[in-house]
């Protein structure tokens, strides 16, 4: 449990960064760093965060940051972790990357880090496309969303990266949303207290990329969870735990607020509703089955 009283007043994501108004990633990162605190080194590849952190000589972060090439962040981090191990240095290494850098170009290195059980906290901020370079689709772009490289809407379903990471049998996997900051912070606190490969996947809505007004970021973060399109769950010791938040609402209520979905046909919306329902049921089944798992880690 994390309460507002125990949160530090220190800020580690500083004002004056050049993020867009209403950026979901800034919200997530600010809370993550408040929990992690000063003794953290961030390793990040190219992406929105590596751009809005500022141009030389400014840095928007109150912690040390290493910029890596796109896709190699987990390997840069692996080297850093190994060096700290040999030299007995105690610093939290946190890899912070977007959906493109994690699910696409970086997947080989992220998978390898997970398989090795690298002692790292991996945070994926998911704005569901390559936003830094304009708006191009990634494998985590949802079905039907318009992007520059899918002008008629993506035809493939969003890749389930959190489950892929869970299949690596790592210490801890969780999904979180900027619509529920205290849930997010609880998960970060839990992950920080563990060792081995820990993965947190955060939905970070993007006003220019998704096509909504800057004041609705948190609201969309909530609606995504409540309509089931982005379920909140944790996987630890082989057990999956699903969090239901309030009563379910139709996916339509979420989709209609975003310009990237404005060309969806009625059939497509119903298809999305059907698939979302099925995916949730799938998670419920996994939850039930894995509740019987006994593992010593």
């Amino acid at each position: 449990m994390v309460t507002i009283n125990e949160l530090t007043d220190d800020e580690f994501l500083l004002k004056g960064n050049s993020a867009c108004a209403g950026c979901g990633a800034t919200m997530a990162i600010r809370w993550v760093l408040k929990i992690l605190g000063k003794d953290t080194v961030l390793v990040m590849p190219a992406g929105c965060v590596s751009v809005f952190q500022g141009m030389f000589p400014a840095s928007a972060f109150g912690v040390p940051v290493v910029d890596s090439s796109f896709g190699a962040q987990s390997s840069f981090a692996a080297g850093l972790i190994a060096a700290y191990k040999i030299k007995g240095r105690r610093l939290k290494v946190v890899t912070l990357a977007g959906d493109g850098g994690t699910a696409d170009i970086g997947l080989h290195a992220v998978s390898a880090a997970a398989e090795r059980g690298d002692d790292v906290l991996y945070i994926c901020y998911d704005n569901e496309a390559y936003m830094n370079t304009g708006v191009q689709r990634s494998s985590l772009t949802p079905y039907g969303a318009k992007t520059g490289t899918d002008p008629k809407g993506k035809l493939e379903w969003k890749k389930n990266l959190p489950l892929i990471m869970a299949a690596h049998n790592v210490t801890y996997v969780a999904t979180a949303s900027v619509g529920y900051p205290f849930d997010l912070m609880r998960k970060v606190k839990k992950a920080a207290s563990l060792s081995g490969f820990r993965y947190i996947h955060i939905l970070t809505p993007c006003p220019p990329g998704w096509g909504f007004s800057e004041n609705l970021t948190a609201e969309l973060g909530r609606l995504a969870v409540r309509c089931g399109i982005f379920p909140l769950f944790e996987v630890e010791g082989g057990k999956l735990t699903l969090h239901k938040v309030g009563s379910r609402i139709p996916v339509r209520k979420y989709l209609e607020l975003q310009k990237r979905f404005e060309d969806l046909t009625e059939d497509q919306i119903q298809y999305i509703q059907k698939r979302v329902d099925e995916d949730l049921r799938y998670l419920e089944i996994i939850e039930k089955v894995t509740s019987e798992v006994k593992r010593d880690g």
């Binding site: 910029d67 696409d104 370079t133 191009q136 490289t149 899918d150």
Partner: protein, 388 residues
């Protein structure tokens, strides 16, 4: 033939070139400053104006790998990238070169990290000069559109069968809009017939690219070498053919200036464009300075360059690249002139690295400064700081 006047950015011009060339498989991964190029192609496909398969690959290494696969399947393939992406696909660059797959790639040149920098430098493309690709540098948007079309004709020629890199500066060209004449599809079709090369034959099955012992390997490399040698004359043929149909003349090099130059600037890409503006000013003020623009970088036009510099006192090489302690263009020029009958002095300048502005005024100043000391011995590499 009615060409349509458009105002297009370099990236849009490239996309039109790809559309007119009827490329059939596009596999690309987004990277600034290439993104608007591939987005425009995606738009053409979505609107039905280009019939092609667009593979949404997860990295540049896969982008080129997919193009190589497409080419084997007999399709005309295209990809585009910059800096880090180009570096990431380097293993595949050699694969397409030595493997002799005629793929065309647009390289929107960009500074290599670290540090992160989206603006232009030529090092990314020039660092690939060993990979077996033909490399052409464009200095304005019309040239970009025209060169993409020519690139397919060159690469698919049976005497060549080598991939072609069409290079142009990020932002100065890719994102700058200019007047461009867009040819008619039917005229491009008569210039560039469909790609017909089916390697995979179930009646006569063969193994492609498996292991070789040294003696055979040596022979394969020689076959590649012969194709690379032949490519220069094919480039010239294609230039002439293009000129006879579309009226626009291109050569391996271009000489620009209003006089008998004592001194030549030597440059490529957007630097050459700025250099033209500088030469205009210098000629107006009575200075005998010209420009040799290198358009074809691989194969390097040794012969043409040797002829062009005859009688000149000095060359001022404007290098937008760096290989350790020397510009890459300078190394190539010096190498090409080593055995020449006439060898002018070479003054080497590093300009515009990291996207620093190469203003025409700074070039004019530099040349005037140099002309005052042109009788001195060159003192090594000079870094030209350019200000407005």
């Amino acid at each position: 033939m009615v060409e349509q006047v458009e105002v297009l950015t370099g990236n849009a011009a490239a996309a039109y070139g790809v559309k007119l060339s009827r490329a059939q498989v596009i596999a690309a991964y987004p990277i600034t400053p290439q993104t608007t190029l591939v987005e425009r192609i995606a738009e053409f496909i979505a609107k039905g104006e280009l019939k092609a398969e667009y593979i949404k690959v997860e990295s540049e290494h896969s982008a080129l790998a997919a193009c190589i696969g497409a080419s084997l399947g007999g399709a005309r393939a295209f990809t585009a990238t910059s800096a880090q992406g180009l570096l990431l696909m380097q293993e595949m660059l050699f694969w397409a070169g030595y493997g002799r797959t005629p793929v065309v790639m647009a390289v929107v040149t960009r500074a290599i990290a670290p540090p992160w920098n989206m603006w232009s430098e030529h090092t990314d493309a020039l660092a690939q000069r060993d990979t077996g690709w033909i490399q052409i540098f464009c200095h304005n948007n019309q040239e970009v559109l025209d060169t993409i079309i020519q690139a397919y004709k060159i690469s698919e020629d049976k005497r060549v069968m080598l991939p072609v890199m069409v290079c142009f500066d990020g932002f100065e060209i890719s994102h700058t809009a200019e007047n461009v004449l867009v040819p008619e599809q039917s005229d491009v079709d008569s210039f560039l017939p469909p790609y017909n090369n089916d390697l995979i034959d179930v009646e006569k099955p063969k193994l492609l690219w498996n292991g070789v012992y040294p003696e055979d390997a040596f022979k394969f490399r020689f076959i590649f070498y012969e194709a690379a040698q032949r490519s220069l004359s094919v480039v010239e043929e294609v230039h002439y053919d293009f000129y006879s149909r579309f009226g626009r003349r291109y050569g391996a090099i271009e000489i620009y200036g209003e006089c008998e130059p004592k001194v030549f600037l030597v440059a490529m890409g957007s630097v050459a464009s700025s250099a033209k503006a500088a030469v205009d000013v210098l000629n107006r003020e009575g200075y005998p300075v010209g420009l040799i623009r290198i358009r074809l970088f691989r194969p390097f036009p040794t012969f043409e360059l040797q002829r062009a510099v005859e009688g000149a006192e000095a060359l001022v090489i404007l290098d937008r690249s760096l290989s350790f302690t020397r510009g890459i263009l300078s190394t190539e020029v010096a190498g090409a002139l080593y055995n020449a009958k006439w060898r002018p002095k070479i003054f080497e300048y590093i300009v515009g690295l990291g996207g620093a502005v190469v203003s025409h005024k700074s070039l004019v100043e530099a040349v005037k400064h140099l002309l005052a000391r042109v009788d001195e011995k060159p003192k090594g590499v000079v870094w030209l700081k350019s200000e407005g």
